[in-house]
């Protein structure tokens, strides 16, 4: 059995760990509120963008000449995967959930004999993927310096992706991120952004007759690259909200576990202290009796 001193030390150490996790939980809670807010504020933009593109693509009659970003390059050989994770750890299963999802997708692609290229955003994802997929990672981003998620970072990634697409380096682009549902649940998501997957348009025939200035395809050509950046930005916002949520619940658990541990250790400490006292008493009594 550990000595009284050792037990005491352990109790203090667990207690200070608990303080840290508690503080982290508080910080995550505060950041979560902010992140959630900006994720919600960012929604109108991407929704509107999506609507406009939908309207535009309905109006395009000549599907053959549709911009490549919309229709794809006509091939399906090289897949680019953008894996978005956080830059910091201690957030529960947040990062491993994304990489798990991504890895199963990678496997599917590689098994079907297609080529795979990976871009990572956030250093944790890179750390987790570099062992198995070192060759496939062509680019890594980390926005540790930016305090909040901002559009210009997303735009940087978007521009890089478009540049690579125009050079014909890949045919299909998919992004992986965590969608924020609530504090406890974050759902890892995969979303194909090139070519744009039009959701099954609910066959509404009230196609608005828009006037276009300049021509439809020119607008689309201008808009689609922006849409890529917007989608990435949206994913980044969702991701940062998810990260904070995930960290909050992880730290909450950790605080609770530490509390349990302190309780257990305290009982053990008290017991062994009592045992020591009893032992001393017995010694004194038996000493007195033998006189």
């Amino acid at each position: 059995m550990a000595s009284l001193d050792d037990l005491k030390k352990r109790i203090t150490s667990v207690k200070s760990t608990q303080k840290i996790t508690k503080a982290m939980k508080m910080v995550a809670a505060a950041k979560l509120r902010k992140a959630q807010e900006s994720a919600e504020k960012g929604r109108p933009y991407s929704d509107k963008m999506h609507n406009i593109i939908l309207n535009l693509s309905k109006n395009i009659n000549d599907k053959e000449n549709a911009p490549k970003l919309l229709a794809g390059s006509g091939k399906d050989n090289v897949h680019l995967c953008v894996v978005m994770t956080s830059d910091r750890g201690l957030c529960g299963g947040f990062n491993s959930n994304i990489t798990k999802k991504a890895k199963s997708y990678f496997k599917k692609i590689l098994d079907s004999g297609k080529e795979l290229k990976i871009v990572t955003i956030g250093s944790k994802g890179f750390d987790q993927l570099k062992r198995a997929y070192k060759e496939q990672i062509i680019e890594k981003f980390s926005f540790k310096e930016s305090k909040n998620v901002n559009y210009f970072d997303a735009d940087k990634v978007g521009k890089m992706i478009i540049e690579k697409f125009e050079k014909g380096e890949f045919d299909v682009c998919t992004i992986f991120f965590n969608k924020f549902k609530n504090v406890i649940t974050q759902i890892p998501q995969e979303q194909q952004i090139i070519p744009l997957k039009s959701e099954k348009s609910d066959e509404k025939n009230d196609v608005m007759n828009y006037e276009f200035e300049p021509e439809e395809d020119e607008i689309l050509n201008n808009l689609l690259p922006k849409n890529i950046s917007t989608q990435i930005f949206k994913a980044m916002l969702e991701n940062s909200a998810s990260e904070q949520g995930s960290r909050m619940s992880a730290m909450d658990n950790a605080t609770r576990n530490a509390g349990e541990m302190v309780e257990k250790l305290t009982i053990e400490y008290n017991r062994s202290r009592q045992a020591a006292i009893t032992k001393e008493l017995i010694e004194i009594i038996s000493g007195a009796e033998s006189l």
Binding site: S38, G42, P44, K48, I52, N55, D155, Y210, E213, I219
Partner: protein, 130 residues
């Protein structure tokens, strides 16, 4: 308020402005400034750097936009832009750094004509504000 319509300006970060009684909006559309009144035909167009003027009653609000896309349908106008600043809040320092940035961009030899044109426009507008 029979001749007013809805206006929403959004940028990626948030809903920048929302109003339901604007009487006229002038936007710097790609092919020239365009005034939009109530019951305008549905239109989609994109913007070049310039000033958006919003008329509400007797008030005029002026905003600098860098790019964007507008959609007008059923008497509601949406403006999507990545960078928008109220002219009153614009600072001299920011202006000059934006101008410098644009001038730097112009030096790039590989710039295509359209981008060059847009950047020149931007410098023009910024200089006028300065």
């Amino acid at each position: 308020m029979s001749d007013s319509f809805n206006l929403e300006i959004v940028n990626p970060e948030k809903l920048f402005l929302s109003s339901d009684n604007v009487s006229e909006v002038v936007v710097p559309a790609f092919e020239g400034d365009m005034g939009i009144l109530k019951d305008h035909i549905s239109i989609i167009s994109f913007l070049k750097p310039g000033i958006v003027k919003i008329f509400t009653g007797n008030e005029v609000k002026e905003l600098y936009v860098e790019d964007g896309i507008i959609e007008f349908s059923e008497n509601s106008l949406s403006i999507l832009t990545s960078r928008i600043i109220d002219i009153k809040e614009i600072k001299k320092d920011d202006l000059s750094s934006m101008i410098n940035e644009a001038n730097e961009a112009l030096k790039d030899e590989n710039l295509d004509d359209q981008k060059r044109f847009i950047t020149n426009q931007k410098i023009d507008v910024l200089n006028r504000l300065n």
